[in-house]
């Protein structure tokens, strides 16, 4: 401890820009929530994604500087977890579950419908940078299978027809924020359990919408 972090550039940084003062302040508040700074690496990586739309080398260097480890150590963490997207990622990340319960109830057809309607295969992003598509392992919505998430906001009881409508809605309406209730109403069906309470918060990008990350948008915000 105490030594200057080693600067190790793995590839040329795409993003030379430093974080906004707001993000830096948020990062400091997040670090204060942990007994040791390094524990804040994971939440800070989400801040880095919110800054650049995905996880850039510049973002990882910023996180390294904040917690006092090397960028290579940050990369080691980031590369372990699937939600830190280091490749180009669309404004909307569509994740279709194809694990056992969704597979049994038609999840493969839902995923295929999303691929065909968007023209984007698993793990890729359209040319415009609007939509990314992936099939994912269990997202804990088995009682409402098959399930899909957009920017990690959930829709349960999806059919191939509804999945195509969802893709077209994203392409045409380009909602500023992604709200789980709104999507469930238009494109969903059976749910795992009664959601009961209206969800005011919405996602603003392909990372979790969570108050401490500053990644929460409200209903009806934006266009």
């Amino acid at each position: 401890m105490g030594s200057e972090p080693i600067t190790l550039t793995i590839r040329p940084a795409e993003s030379g820009k430093k974080w906004s003062d707001e993000s830096l302040e948020r990062a400091r508040r997040i670090m204060a929530r942990y007994p040791e700074k390094r524990s804040a690496v994971m939440p800070l990586l989400y801040l880095a994604m919110a800054e650049d739309g995905r996880l850039t080398n510049g973002g990882m260097e910023q996180v390294a500087e904040l917690v006092g480890i090397t960028p290579a150590q940050v990369l080691a963490v980031a590369s372990f977890y699937t939600m830190y997207k280091r490749e180009r990622t669309g404004k909307y990340l569509i994740s279709a579950c194809t694990s056992i319960s969704c597979m049994l109830t038609g999840g493969d057809d839902v995923f295929e419908a999303i691929e065909l309607e968007s023209g984007v295969p698993h793990g890729e992003t359209d040319e415009e940078g609007l939509i990314s598509v992936e099939h994912v392992e269990c997202i804990g919505a088995c009682g409402g299978a098959p399930a899909v998430q957009v920017n990690y906001e959930l829709i349960e009881g999806v059919t191939p027809v509804k999945a195509r409508e969802l893709v077209r809605w994203l392409q045409q309406e380009r909602p500023a924020t992604i709200n789980t209730d709104e999507m469930q109403r238009h494109f969903g069906g059976r749910r795992s359990f009664d959601w009961a309470v209206a969800e005011e918060a919405s996602a603003v990008g392909p990372y979790p919408a969570f108050q401490p990350f500053g990644t929460v948008g409200g209903v009806g915000e934006g266009e």
């Binding site: 040791e36 990586l45 977890y81 056992i100 049994l104 269990c138 088995c142 009682g143 359990f193 979790p208």
Partner: protein, 440 residues
């Protein structure tokens, strides 16, 4: 049929506002946390131990016994395992979204009993909505003086940090979760020496408990050990949440007493099989558990012991039901694929073995299987979990490796004919589209 409800009582009675502090307090919430601070720590640990509250995360280990292992070194930490990712499981999501204060109250008592002044709630990253609800509840609890410095006017301090995972199933394993919380790759640690209760988070004594387990803690204290044990089954005490999914008419979470038979669970609770189809097989306790079949297990009670005696486990309470239209090779392949995808790469048998199983099952499902293939699959499986026994023998640091073998054991024990039909018939008799090729 009326059933005792414990952890879902409030959300059933007050569906629209069970998550709010006002409703929580109006229904007696935080009373037990307040009272527990007047109890000695030993008293609480003893009560939880004698109530035989079993961990609801998968291992069904006595929570009180776990707490009694806490080493004397300080500071100690408590971690709530809300990294619910076992395929078929969605019960904790409901508890987090619909009654987050119940979790916080349980966490206060657990932290007090284990002399921890800092607790973490580790929620999987794909659960932003549950995480927002919990964070809101944590903020409310801080504002009310139930968390923070000198909670409830005592001199006990408790900080709670809500942490989001990054999409790795393995972080539900408690030592992997601890590494992840330290800002490291979520790879499990060797036990011994890294038993969390002795050398956990930052090498300090740490208690890791599942969401449902912690949610039960206030009720155990409020009811007392004897009444808690009296709910249903003398050995498997209290209730537990069963997540039912797959080909049943009424999938969902059900809070049930232990000891119902599978027939009651599948046909009464879950409303039977869709389209009047025949039941073919079911997974009794999450993707890691060997499957059950109607000819052997339908009238068996769902208890920890009966399930173990039959070569499986109650695990996380996730029941995935498959009807007669299901290709079991494909189902096994999908489960094996999950484990191959989620292997952290630390131990060779799991890192290399699970993808081999996936590749060979893909070949069989796609009609390129050879007669020797299933023997090769069993041989590779044996390299991951020697003898293919239950409970599994381990060649790996954690149980993920043997979990990948459970679907293979199920095929071997119950569906050998169907595997042969795939190989001899040159493809899937259910005539499904081809599975994605696996690239090594």
């Amino acid at each position: 049929m009326s059933r005792p409800l414990v952890v879902t009582r409030r959300m059933v009675d007050h569906p629209t506002d069970s998550h709010t502090l006002d409703r929580y307090q109006e229904t007696g919430g935080y009373e037990m946390a307040r009272r527990s601070l007047d109890m000695t720590r030993d008293e609480i640990v003893e009560t939880v131990k004698s109530a035989n509250l079993l961990g609801r995360g998968g291992a069904a280990f006595s929570a009180g016994l776990k707490w009694s292992f806490l080493a004397p070194d300080r500071p100690a930490y408590v971690v709530v395992n809300a990294d619910e990712s076992e395929p078929g499981t969605f019960k904790d999501r409901q508890l987090l979204e619909r009654d987050p204060h119940q979790l916080i109250e349980g966490l206060i008592i657990t932290s007090w009993a284990n002399e921890a002044n800092h607790a973490f709630i580790y929620i999987r990253g794909e659960y932003p909505k549950p995480a927002r609800r919990v964070q809101q509840a944590v903020d409310e609890a801080y504002a009310a003086g139930y968390l923070g410095e000198g909670i409830f006017g005592t001199d006990f301090d408790l900080e709670v940090t809500v942490h989001l995972g990054g999409g790795a199933y393995i972080c539900g394993e408690e030592t992997a979760m601890i590494n992840s919380l330290e800002g490291l790759r979520g790879e499990p640690r060797l036990k011994p020496p890294y038993f969390p209760a002795a050398k956990g988070l930052y090498m300090k004594p740490t208690i890791v408990n599942n969401v449902e387990t912690i949610c039960n803690v206030p009720h155990v204290l409020a009811m007392g050990a004897e009444d808690f044990k009296g709910i249903a089954h003398p050995e498997d005490t209290g209730t537990f949440l069963l997540s039912l999914s797959g080909h049943v008419n009424e999938p969902g979470n059900y809070e049930l007493p232990h000891g119902l038979t599978w027939r009651e669970i599948i046909y009464d609770v879950a409303g039977g099989i869709r389209d009047g189809n025949e039941l073919k097989t079911w997974i009794p306790g999450g993707a890691s558990a060997p499957w059950f079949v109607p000819s052997l297990h339908l009238d068996m009670p769902l208890t920890k012991q009966a399930t173990a005696d039959a070569g499986s486990m109650i695990g996380s309470g996730a029941v995935v039901v498959m009807d007669e239209t299901t290709c079991v090779v494909r189902a096994a392949l999908r489960l094996v694929r999950f484990f191959a995808h989620e292997s952290c790469g630390e131990c060779t048998p799991c890192r290399e073995g699970a993808p081999w199983l996936e590749m060979m099952l893909t070949r069989i499902e796609n009609g390129q299987g050879r007669p020797v293939d299933f023997d090769v699959i069993l041989d590779v499986s044996d390299g991951i979990s020697i003898g293919l026994e239950w409970p599994p023998k381990m060649t790996t640091i954690c149980a993920l490796g043997p979990s990948a073998v459970s679907p293979i054991i199920s095929l071997r024990d119950h569906f050998g004919d169907e595997v042969v039909a795939h190989i001899e018939g040159g493809g899937c008799p259910f005539g499904r589209v081809e599975e994605e090729e696996v690239v090594a």
